[in-house]
Assembly symmetry: D2
Homo-oligomer: 411 residues x 4
Amino acid sequence: MSTPNPLTWARDHAPVLADLTDEFREERPFEGLTVAICSHLEASTGVFVETIHAGGAECLVAPSEPKSTHADVIDHLDSREGIRTFAEPDMSDRAFERAQSDLLAERPDLIADDACELIARAHASHPDAVEEAIGGVEQTTAGVRRLEAIDADAGLGFPAYGVNDTPMKRCFDNVHGTGESSLVNVAQITNTALSGKTVVVGGYGHCGRGIARKARGLGARTVVTEVDPRKALEAHMDGHLALSMAEAAEIGDLFVPSTGSRDVIRRAHFERMRDGAQLANAGHFDVEIAVDDLEAMAERTTEPIAGVTRYHLPDGRRLDLLTEGRLVNLTGPNSKGHPIEVMDTTFAMMAVALRELAVGERPEPGVHAVPDRLDREVADRKLAAVGGSRDDLTAKQEAYLSDWALDGEAF
Amino acid sequence: MSTPNPLTWARDHAPVLADLTDEFREERPFEGLTVAICSHLEASTGVFVETIHAGGAECLVAPSEPKSTHADVIDHLDSREGIRTFAEPDMSDRAFERAQSDLLAERPDLIADDACELIARAHASHPDAVEEAIGGVEQTTAGVRRLEAIDADAGLGFPAYGVNDTPMKRCFDNVHGTGESSLVNVAQITNTALSGKTVVVGGYGHCGRGIARKARGLGARTVVTEVDPRKALEAHMDGHLALSMAEAAEIGDLFVPSTGSRDVIRRAHFERMRDGAQLANAGHFDVEIAVDDLEAMAERTTEPIAGVTRYHLPDGRRLDLLTEGRLVNLTGPNSKGHPIEVMDTTFAMMAVALRELAVGERPEPGVHAVPDRLDREVADRKLAAVGGSRDDLTAKQEAYLSDWALDGEAF
Amino acid sequence: MSTPNPLTWARDHAPVLADLTDEFREERPFEGLTVAICSHLEASTGVFVETIHAGGAECLVAPSEPKSTHADVIDHLDSREGIRTFAEPDMSDRAFERAQSDLLAERPDLIADDACELIARAHASHPDAVEEAIGGVEQTTAGVRRLEAIDADAGLGFPAYGVNDTPMKRCFDNVHGTGESSLVNVAQITNTALSGKTVVVGGYGHCGRGIARKARGLGARTVVTEVDPRKALEAHMDGHLALSMAEAAEIGDLFVPSTGSRDVIRRAHFERMRDGAQLANAGHFDVEIAVDDLEAMAERTTEPIAGVTRYHLPDGRRLDLLTEGRLVNLTGPNSKGHPIEVMDTTFAMMAVALRELAVGERPEPGVHAVPDRLDREVADRKLAAVGGSRDDLTAKQEAYLSDWALDGEAF
Amino acid sequence: MSTPNPLTWARDHAPVLADLTDEFREERPFEGLTVAICSHLEASTGVFVETIHAGGAECLVAPSEPKSTHADVIDHLDSREGIRTFAEPDMSDRAFERAQSDLLAERPDLIADDACELIARAHASHPDAVEEAIGGVEQTTAGVRRLEAIDADAGLGFPAYGVNDTPMKRCFDNVHGTGESSLVNVAQITNTALSGKTVVVGGYGHCGRGIARKARGLGARTVVTEVDPRKALEAHMDGHLALSMAEAAEIGDLFVPSTGSRDVIRRAHFERMRDGAQLANAGHFDVEIAVDDLEAMAERTTEPIAGVTRYHLPDGRRLDLLTEGRLVNLTGPNSKGHPIEVMDTTFAMMAVALRELAVGERPEPGVHAVPDRLDREVADRKLAAVGGSRDDLTAKQEAYLSDWALDGEAF
């Protein structure tokens, strides 16, 4: 039995990227361009890098998280001409920042970003990189918000597509990618059942509703906390219990925030939790759960099982924090990140958005919505890949939908 | 045992309207104004009418569907001073149109519309009514599209709020109202089980996904047809089978279109269906299922059970059309329309939008989105009414969410 | 459009009875026998009667509930030679009892019973009917329990098959029939949504788990009360909240007992309920909800909507009892009972059990389990009818499953 | 941060074993007895061993699977006086068999078995061990069947309780333990999504329905294959597609058999599968998927990702077998077996059954059902541990349930 390259499995489950790779190899949209790619460096990112590379680009690759890099993936990428990585497995924060700076010193033409890491850093301290770049694309909710903040503040130096805000990204990556892989990783790390648990989901955005719906589908009782009353009510009508976090803290067995905000679970909540409550972050960075508060409250910590930090509180209660409050689906002992099929869609959106910036009509500097036709293009490719079908509007239907007088039945 | 008035039950289950009624009685926002209300004339509409009436309005009430009027409701409304109805149970199409014209001859100040019935008719043939009106509000998808078409064509004569497009309307009325009541009425009319059936849902908009999710929750196998590849893929990832209607036609036991379009199920599809297939419209009007095609194809029709027209095809197959292809949740032998709690939310949105037009800052003529604060207001009232809670953003969170440099951690 | 006979629709959705009817017409298993049939007299019972009649029986038909008889069904049955009904729509308790006695005076050979109504009455006061009968079949949980009690007490006078205890009956009729139709009728009667409600299900037997699972599938939050700790835990692991009724009383919006016991919801519980709580019996008879307690506690009653009795308590709270505490899926203003496909299975089990008593090897007097081969026969007929398939064991698999030494891999 | 012993985490999530440990320490039911324990040697088994040890037993511990032993667990157990393990991580089949023989040479008084490994081996080749033993308990479906086969064949030499057949075992371990952990491990090993997949579940027993229901809850489309038409129909009514495996083979993305039989998926099925189909065994041993057929059909194999063997067929199709066809939830690269809370229940049943054999009234040699009161005892302990409640029957209810004349309402 021989061992194929580390991207084989991911490539097999990424049919849209495979499609685009074939096309890009023919059409060479990135000929002569340098493309920076910042992302969690696991196998599906590797397939994305190879897709862009097939389009003629020189690829520069940096991690978006210091701890989530897979060694075999970067070794494989570095072995290919025209791809350079700026990464090592398990980097210090300092090394991580330096790697991004080193990459930016190369002044890439296009930036495929994650959490706006590279673009924010460029605007903060690499003005020459900002000047050189002709465009960027961004895959996360937090990253798009950050892009908008940069643009509102000092002005963005080039056009950037908010890939995160496309239907294809939000509905697949967030709902299904984060939703499923967060729960799978919690189950795998803790070796406890979701069935029968009371799961408190922080936030009912795309990620949160994916988590909540799937946890319920597995047999959990679900509680949703929200700041938006509409989303709280939606959760209520979908069969979840809509509570404040202070109320939820008292009844939850497992807490999974994914709001994009910070301190969603904090001292006031830790104080009310049951002995043995589990805390797993499915949002961004490591700020949704106020780990500082836990550190301040605890007498000591232990590691009862790999991937879990146990905070022993003075009153005897123990709170179990998974993966240090970092993303539970990416940073656990055996985590593999989002399911590959989901990353296929997200990276395909990133790829066509990059292609648009390279060879399409380039918009003004600032944050832009990805043109709807690109979203549809990726959707149609994916739908065909999964064996689904759809209808086309008939001429009569198109006329009907645009005719206010309702098909000639005037009064 | 005494029989209370026909609105008691609806009022008991409409806590937000009850809230607003108390406030309106105090504040009299509609003092001196005439408000036209066009809707299915059942008990929850009656509660809405009384809410507006409590705010000081003279109310003129017309049906939005010729067959869905409840006699006891209009009797009750007519018995109150300041309310006039233009309706009878089971009207002919001609009487229905005349009733709307009669109402418009009164030149109301504000119009609360359904499917743009009154506003379209006013623009088509009652220019004086258009001129007199100071604003309108519209509760359906089709109606808002029609408003936009009027505006794009000849220009809308006054400002109109598209209540349908608010989160509160779409997520509650469409997903849960149409979703649940359509299925309940199919089960009630046919006395057959949804468990074990293959249910084909036409369209995966708000209504369609409500129907599909609930049918699946009851134990049906679900097929979704779509024209948008993103929605088709969403359906696929949600566990439904994404097919073209031609493919779905061959395997479905029950077909429920709710696309807002016409001829979603037509001759080409009828030709492939199984003997005994059931057809129930949950969209709008009676156009989603091409009844004309059925009429043309059938040798004869029978009524095997109340509410079902059976089309006997020459090849021996029988297709069972519910409620003549009209809305199954409104026009069945014992249909009561949307659940009251859902109508509470929709009508509360209509009420605060009318209040905004009456006493707020009135926008330019044209179609306008309902201000988000109104949507939040209704959501907060409803959330309190159902016993739910939510969080408020802390100052630190608000700062975090607006600060691109991410809490001072600059580079 | 002509109106076919009242059984057409039911017959179309009862493929197994249709199958058996064809076979019985050929084989005449009941030639020369009189068969008493006691059941809710609606269309699917009518199809069952015709099935037995096709087998050569003279059929005597009595209702099992005084209020659930459909006039058109008994008119149709009475019009056929060899069928006699002892029923009228809406009978008094006294007329109902007399009808059963009149039927028993005919001393039928076989009795197809519901809730052991006829058989218990025969043993209590019609010794000649007991002596004459060669066997009985019983379709309900309560009825089988009652049969066993008679047998333990004075001894059953003839063999009786407990059809209720077959897999086919319990898993289909109880889980899906009661489960779905109870919820549909609650929704239809109250015109309120199940989505968002807290539904308290009394009992987690076959009926209870059907109700609980389907309510959850529609978007309700579900609470289960049980007396068996295993079933309480199962409910907990399935995502329901396992509480005592006293605890559940405080948080429920809708209460649906189906335990087969009495006073499952009683004064102690009514005292803790919220204003507006809805009570719907899905168990048996009218004893699961202690209506006497409600009567004693209330100052007065009203009927806010057809099918609902509102009990006004002295402290201002109102409790809404559906269909007088009788079976909600059978006795509502527009109730049609169990879905027909489900009754098809139950009545097919009754039919083959009757056939076994008529032409098979008749067992000793007493309560007997239906032979497994009959259950499989009906299951295979139904599976084919719904278009499903199954595997057969291979010879190798059969050997494996019976060989403890595990396929020769000895130690 | 210190590292606690390897059983800490499991003990924290096994409240019933913790309860029993406290009681056993007091009551010493196993004083002077040697208890053999055969099971997958992971942390929760360790807690079970310590529970029995606390009751005064000398414990002898052997693995039930050669590859699933955790080194830290056996190191920990061996460090305690009165516990001896006969295991190493990753044993050869030969070493595995020898370990069991070595254990049996010690002639234990009681045997807690898994898959009847020790008891079958004793009856096959250790007659002295059979003679010495006073009883056994068995936790798996296959094991109980094997016990019955031994008893039917040569006669069982001592009484054995079929713990597997208790409600507590079947409903929790099988439905939730196997159900959830199989899916979690498939997702973790393959890094692909269950949402959107077509999952074919072989068998609709307790395990199969757990897998099917949870896969559906996560957003998969589900197909069930069965040999029993009742179970096939149940699956159909629960919303799964009931097909033969030959039909299912053509549409499945993932195949998960858990029937307890062999060759459930075999050459005839592999020939029809799609390129990239995934095969994961959730039944017993490694016989549900006919790996021999795969070996015979394939040109070569690769390992595209850890835990997956890829069979390259001559026609270009690739079939991906997880964990060599062994139990996917136990033998994957990072598998941890059943969730701990579920093992808590199973092992607690084993513990009270052992206690019954040690200090209760010992039944005749042969296979016996565990007395219902023991099942209830464990259920009540667990229900209290998870914070659930239940009702007790009132005297009036007990009378009602045993009184055929229905509470004195005689005729």
